[in-house]
Point group: C2
Chain length 272, copies 2
């Protein structure tokens, strides 16, 4: 199967390397030359793609705006399967389905990444055992979906979930976007500059993903504005309950809040 | 050197095992029998301590209230070095120095732990490369401090910091206590029950330590109430800035908030 991957950052280059290792022919495409040369040197791709000609599957591994622009170019061969990897999906589907297309779209969102980006952070093992969400709807072509599922297995993904774009956006607002806001806000305490040597795993975990690219994440936040706002406001309300218990020295209340969170945590972890 | 460790939970039993491996004679003491037997079977201690007789160093690896009670028993041999491992220190020092003691107190706080507790989670490698904070003041005996530093190295700690109890409590309010509140509150979103398969590292990191023992942590929170309240209120204010930017669709404001957090994050990580 001939696969073209446009966008050789951490997500695209890792996907390329994993699919090439699985035996597929993988061509790479990138706006700047550097990542293409790096990918060739490190055997992450079989060659560079000058166009989409002959592609069975194209993965657009680009930020949301660039993804929508490319989906609107209609530059894909007829019948080609086109997938994206964006962390928001309703807006992408809206762009795809605004007119008839000659390609078959299937959205994916790998639950994998690092706190660093770019091809230097890529690895053919990035997706091993990780979760992948595939978004489906009434227009999804069953054969295209099968192909994407099969490629996902080849890339090493563990659980592969299917859901609607709306369900995806609501859940990802909680599991990814809110986490990045909290981490970013956490690290802004003026005291953070003075705690070197005073940190353990809990602080490191809280602040790990805070160094977000403000342009990419600002777009993601506004494309998922409604579900994100709901989750952010909910978290602020819950934190204010802790604040209130501390202020009023309400020990019983504090214990009750913590117990409630512990039970939720235990339910969640037992489900995994 | 004869070391007695009272409290064979994850912290105490790991310390016992690490110090025994380093060649010290380590006796264990615990309110219930189970952990003592487990520690003996797994060669984490050399024997059980019936009293503190003959001890050069005693580590109290107990929750704050039990630690203060034990420090007030004055059951230690004269000149013995007594240390605790509590995550709050001003309140412990206040208990120690309320009257003259025949023992030499040095406070410690290992920046290590797991999201599980108890001796079954203990490991002689728990402290390898981790941070240790030692609290010192005008009453600290220099020879006792040297001994504790040397034992900390034997136990495998990486960086060993010294500071006052007040500085400790302020910094730990940010790096540990606030992190546990946020994690606990984060996991309480009603949507958490439905995101299995939709999670990656950022959500897992956010929720990892949320399952706290409400009695222990409630005590820790109120013993560090003032610095914790300051950090918690600060975080809530910063999260409300994000909420406001989302509500008013202020994209420039959102990018500015994220950029500020990224720069703080980069400063912090470059300092480590």
């Amino acid at each position: 199967m001939k696969i073209i991957i446009y966008g050789l950052g951490i997500i695209g280059a890792s996907l390329a390397a994993a699919l090439k290792r699985a035996g597929h022919t993988v061509l790479g495409k990138n706006r700047s030359r550097g990542p293409v040369e790096y990918a060739l040197e490190h055997h992450m791709i079989d060659g560079e793609a000058a166009s989409y000609e002959g592609a069975d599957v194209v993965f657009l591994c680009l930020p949301p705006d660039a993804t929508m622009q490319e989906l609107n170019e209609d530059a894909f061969p007829s019948g080609c399967i086109v997938s994206d990897i964006c962390g928001v999906k309703e807006v992408i589907e809206k762009a795809v389905y605004e007119k008839p297309r000659n390609y078959r779209y299937v959205g994916t969102h790998p639950m994998a990444g690092k706190e660093t980006s770019g091809i230097l952070s890529a690895s053919e093992d990035l997706y091993r055992g990780k979760n992948l969400v595939i978004t489906v709807n009434e227009y999804t072509d069953p054969a295209a979906l099968d192909t994407i599922r099969s490629l996902a297995q080849d890339a090493g993904f563990g659980r592969i979930m299917e859901c609607s774009a709306r369900e995806h956006d609501a859940k990802i607002a909680l599991t990814s976007q809110l986490a990045h806001i909290v981490s970013n806000a956490y690290g802004k305490s003026p005291l953070c500059s003075f705690v070197s040597g005073f940190t353990g795993g809990s602080f490191q975990d809280m602040t790990r993903v805070g160094g977000v690219d403000e342009n990419l994440w600002c777009d993601l936040y506004f494309y998922a504005r409604d579900p994100l706002l709901q989750e952010l406001s909910g978290l602020i309300e819950r934190l204010k309950e802790f604040e209130q218990a501390l202020k009023t020295e309400d020990r019983e209340g504090m214990r009750a809040l913590l117990r409630e969170g512990r039970l939720a945590h235990d339910r969640f972890f037992s489900e995994k």
